[in-house]
């Protein structure tokens, strides 16, 4: 069926070919062992490349501040002080509250961006209407302006309507920053869906919306989850707007970390920043470990192949 997109090369097998397949089976098996090794080694290289700097971050996070610049590759002068400092409200650090804020903001941003992004993507992928190009252009255009130049007008707008330091003043900009990517990825994936299934569902009496929700959306799970992760992390990383518009009570982790200070003026609080960086990264890793199956389940497992 048409889930195999145009241009794919499905070649009918001739008799001769079938015989040669049997012959090559042994070779194939040997080849697949080699392939498995290659995969394992590649995976190892990837993991090392991704985690090596992170490892250094953790090592530094556990290092006594007096030995900040130690270059021993293994843990030395191990201490938990940096983590205590990062969470110490007595020193004016608000990492605990900030983690909750970031989580709350991230969840709101992801949920809203996905919801309205799905609406827009459905329309762009499935409906035939005028001005589609303009809409796509406008949405893309929203990620073309240097972010820093947006701050001053936004600051004035939000302070004028009394939104300074509120959650919505942090959430709305974050949504806007992730929306273009959300709409584009979802559109490109929705176009890949086997839409005849939707039409079949409608013949069965579903409304267009029901058909979309019950048939298409489950199939698009990997794409939706991928987009959700991208949106969440992007909101988790947002700093520019938050640094100007958040208050002590609403500041996200990025702002909280930036406000860390050494015990002395001019002293860079590296070890504390690295400790905070570690703390901030771990929830995301757990999140990904929980949801990682979703990133890849979908189509291949969903029985829509062929």
């Amino acid at each position: 069926m048409s889930a195999v997109p145009a241009g794919s090369t499905t070649i009918p097998l001739s008799n001769a070919q079938s015989k040669s397949i049997a012959k090559t089976k042994v070779a194939v098996r040997r080849k697949s062992t080699a392939k498995r090794w290659r995969t394992t080694i590649s995976a190892l290289v990837i993991v090392v490349w991704c985690l090596l700097p992170f490892y250094w971050m953790i090592i530094t996070a556990f290092r006594d501040v007096g030995y900040t610049y130690d270059t021993a590759f293994w843990p030395t002068h191990v201490t938990f002080d940096n983590f205590t400092t990062a969470f110490s409200t007595k020193l004016g650090n608000h990492l605990g509250q900030a983690l909750l804020n970031s989580l709350f903001i991230g969840v709101c941003v992801t949920a809203i961006a996905l919801l309205i992004g799905t609406f827009a993507a459905y329309a762009l992928a499935r409906l035939d209407f005028r001005a589609k190009g303009i809409v796509l252009g406008l949405i893309l255009g929203a990620s073309m302006f240097p972010g820093v130049a947006l701050i001053t007008p936004l600051f004035q707008l939000f302070t004028n309507i009394g939104w300074f330091g509120t959650y919505q003043a942090l959430i709305l900009p974050s949504i806007s920053f992730v929306l273009p990517l959300t709409v584009y990825t979802l559109t490109s994936f929705f176009r890949e869906m086997p839409w005849d299934l939707e039409e079949a569902a409608r013949i069965d009496g579903c409304t267009q919306a029901q058909a979309f929700r019950k048939v298409i959306l489950p199939l698009a799970t990997p794409a939706v989850f991928t987009t959700a992760i991208l949106a969440f992390i992007s909101s988790w990383n947002e700093y520019l707007i938050s640094s100007q518009l958040s208050s002590d009570a609403t500041q996200p982790v990025t702002v909280a970390i930036a406000s860390f200070a050494g015990s002395q003026p001019h002293q860079e609080p590296y070890t504390t920043v690295m400790a905070a960086g570690t703390i901030v990264t771990i929830p995301l890793v757990i999140l990904v470990l929980i949801f990682q199956r979703r990133i890849v389940a979908g189509l291949t497992a969903g029985g829509v192949k062929g």
């Binding site: 303009i134 600051f155 100007q244 930036a258 003026p265 002293q267």
Partner: protein, 424 residues
């Protein structure tokens, strides 16, 4: 067709804009009406990260004394740029809740010229007679005092007392002492030469110490076309070229230099007072008992340090300026200053504290720091400071690395500063 589409896009953006622009024009242009000067009530004090937790206790003490005029503390980030931008945004929005703000010495002129700071004249005047002169100069713009010096900072020369018996008093002496470093197999001298604000500080010191100046007394006319200025920059360039300043120093900010000094790899280090206690206590420090401090070396005697530190200013948009004024004086008082010094190692602006025996015992670097600050020169007090600093950094960096002659670097700097003050 395409043109139509484009015009449609523009039209729809413009429409969205027009609808919203209405919201952004803000209310009163109130520039400090007179009754605000006598008005009292709760205020907010805005400052960057309170590193050593001295501001909160100070405010608590004030609040106990003035229960009807409580001060709230708004703490900004630890990064200077962020503090600057936050202040600018709030001043632009005419935020009434930023009553007393802590401004870096180099921003004072800019904020004053923008009309955001209440001049400390008439009812607002404060007594500056007991303060260190250079700190008052850093808070003065166009002949008017716009802020009250609050904390100071000056560069000092850290040296290895086990290798150098008497610290050098002139630049040339220091350069000849570099043979000691060579013998010991370590680097000789480093300051901060990475491309950031610290480079401006170091270049200004080199030029001022050699008798030159960056801008004239009007704060905007560049004065780099003098032999003294050339001599100052040349000193840095030569030292970097002949290895007296190690190649790595071009990547140094404060911390990298400190690290090298604490690791015993550097004979002389130009840095702020904060290094003192860390070099004594850091577990990794190899120079705990083998370093000393001295004023920066100059052409013939003590050099001219650049001045660091912060000033406390009153926002023109403050609704309770009388309270704000009293709070500024409170920050200025010898008692508060002493607390800042003992608890937070912040250099006081009150001259008498430097000879306070009890304080000297706790902060042994104070006598040296006093010499440094007394002969310090504020970085250019100009409302165009960011552009001036960029002009200095860009050209000095290229000169030190040897990509540009000193003469060319200075003439470019001169032209760039003059362009900056013409509003580019």
């Amino acid at each position: 067709m395409r043109a139509q589409r484009v015009s449609l896009v523009i039209a729809s953006i413009a429409a969205a804009g027009l609808v919203l622009t209405g919201c952004s024009s803000s209310g009163s242009g109130g520039t400090g009406s007179d009754n605000a000067l006598t008005s009292r009530g709760p205020i907010t004090y805005v400052q960057g990260k309170d590193n050593s937790n001295v501001v909160r206790p100070t405010i608590d003490r004030w609040n106990k004394l003035h229960p009807k005029e409580k001060v709230t503390f708004k703490e900004q980030s630890d990064q200077a740029d962020q503090q600057h931008d936050d202040l600018v945004q709030n001043f632009q929005a005419k935020n009434k809740n930023y009553d007393v703000v802590d401004v870096d010495v180099v921003w004072t002129a800019e904020f004053a010229a923008k009309g955001w700071l209440q001049p400390l004249t008439g009812k607002m005047a404060i007594d500056t007679s007991g303060l260190l002169k250079p700190t008052v100069a850093s808070a003065t713009y166009n002949g008017k005092l716009y802020a009250a010096p609050q904390t100071s900072d000056g560069g000092m020369l850290y040296y290895r007392s086990d290798l150098v018996k008497t610290p050098p008093t002139t630049w040339d002496e220091m350069m000849s002492d570099c043979s000691i470093a060579k013998k010991a197999g370590i680097d000789c001298y480093a300051g901060q030469y990475a491309k950031y604000e610290g480079l401006t500080v170091n270049v200004a010191e080199a030029i001022n110490s050699a008798g030159g100046t960056i801008v004239g007394s009007d704060g905007k006319t560049p004065t780099l076309d003098t032999p003294e200025a050339a001599k100052g920059l040349q000193n840095l360039v030569d030292a970097y070229k002949n290895g007296n300043i190690p190649k790595a120093a071009i990547t140094y900010q404060e911390e990298q230099g400190r690290m090298s000094f604490e690791a015993g790899k550097l004979l002389f280090l130009r840095n702020w007072p904060y290094v003192y206690s860390l070099a004594k206590t850091d577990g990794s420090s190899k120079v705990k008992t083998t370093f000393g401090i001295a004023p920066l070396p100059g052409a013939t005697g003590i050099g001219a340090s650049s001045l660091g530190g912060h000033n406390a200013a009153i926002s023109v948009y403050s609704a309770h300026k009388a309270t704000a004024h009293d709070f500024v004086e409170f920050l200025e008082s010898a008692e508060t200053q002493k607390f800042f010094a003992t608890q937070g190692s912040l250099a006081p602006v009150v001259a008498s504290l430097y000879t306070d025996a009890a304080l000297d015992a706790k902060l042994p670097y104070l006598p040296v720091l006093l010499k440094s600050i007394s002969s310090a020169v504020p970085r250019p007090v100009t409302p165009f400071y960011p552009a001036v600093s960029t002009a200095v950094q860009d050209n000095a960096y290229a000169a030190i690395k040897g990509d540009k002659s000193v003469a060319k670097a200075l003439s470019d700097m001169q032209a760039a500063i003059s362009a900056a003050s013409s509003g580019n």
